[in-house]
Symmetry: C2
Subunit: 276 residues, 2 copies
Amino acid sequence: MTPTIGVFDSGFGGLTVLRALLDRLPHAGFAFLGDTARLPYGSKSRRTIAHYAVEGAQFLVREQGAESLVIACNTASALALDAIQAAVPVPVLGVIEPGAAAAKAASCTGDVLVIATDATVQSHAYAAACRGQGLRAIEKACPLLVPLVEEGWTDHSVTAEVIRIYLDELVGQAGAEGLHPDTLVLGCTHYPLLRPLIEQAVPSGIRVIDSAEAAAEAAFRLFDGETANPAPDLPPHRSVRFFATDSVEKFERLGSRFLERPVRNVELVDLEQFSN
Amino acid sequence: MTPTIGVFDSGFGGLTVLRALLDRLPHAGFAFLGDTARLPYGSKSRRTIAHYAVEGAQFLVREQGAESLVIACNTASALALDAIQAAVPVPVLGVIEPGAAAAKAASCTGDVLVIATDATVQSHAYAAACRGQGLRAIEKACPLLVPLVEEGWTDHSVTAEVIRIYLDELVGQAGAEGLHPDTLVLGCTHYPLLRPLIEQAVPSGIRVIDSAEAAAEAAFRLFDGETANPAPDLPPHRSVRFFATDSVEKFERLGSRFLERPVRNVELVDLEQFSN
């Protein structure tokens, strides 16, 4: 019996984190919960986000037996990591600190750009985490990018134009503050699906960092040992259970785009019945 | 003491309906609830929308003493009107039937276009209501328009391009099905803020109908008498209380754009404590 890692997200985007976790921890079991009934978190307040995220974390630990948690949502990591850590008796890993650490490893100038949702940016969690790494960071909210991904316009001229507008504003602001950024952190789990368009739009010399991959690398270091490699000759078993708080059909349909493999047997769950 | 009309919405958009109601029923008292913690409803399932909307309706009737309700949200009207009517002992008016009736009054050809959220379109509530009026309707989901309004891009070239793409697809589909539409129904309460761009983008000869104005007209007919006009010489008192389930500061800031007047003294409410 392999330990179960609980992976919590506000919706589908966290499946880009799960994809990276499956690659990095092939022998772990996973229980993924997407709080799709109440998404998106990115435009909500700290109080509401913490309330919802704690309910999700408690479901994964109490009902699904998760022995560790990955908060695969930048907004919940930014605004609710402390509340989740206080509410459950298992190790909890967010995506912000790993993203900042990966930026530190990538940056030569020490100046970093971050794009994320409204709530993540307003929390300034990335700026604080980057400061902890000795980096200077400028953050920008890009609230249209999630709806564009969910509309399926991941390779569309409108999306390219929206990205250009957002990045022009961000690079201009960095210049006005005397920064010389060489790294851009994708601070939202939807953004990896826009990575080709974003890489076309960033000025040359700026490297793009994906916080999903950074979080999977951090999870590997935190949860390794028997989870990562119970016996070197065992085949990967990829035990994954999926839970959603709204339409399982929609979760299966949209989720496959984020996981890049089929999402099946999603189970519907009502989190309000698990609340304190 | 004037009767109180409860106005329920998933967020801010319903304030365009409240604006029309204030104009049409200047002597009524209003209690407006925006379920901003759980918005948007437009991408959620019927089950979840009905669950949330019934909680909101019960709050307005039981806690605020509303003697009638206007469901100022196309998605909740489309998917939850029956559930709300079954859950509360007061008259409940949605925005779909008034929108279809206004289309009937406007259309000569009997062929109508409807733009709305994903959930409203998937419910085919407008198509059914239009059929009941003897009209043929083609509906199209435009999921990017709400985020564009909320980003404040109501007069932006990107928004104009997105509207052009959506309307081209819709008009093309109508032509392919042999329809000759002369009326476009704005089936989402956010869309009135895009009315100038939409009117530029529709082919000439197509008239734009706002379901918010249509609903206010229907409310006037349904709730008139003492509510509308307790005594002809009384000045309008405009008693409005605002409730939101998430950040009251954000509600006051964004809400003013929809109501076109200041939104103040918003009260925070936790609907989950009122659920059955």
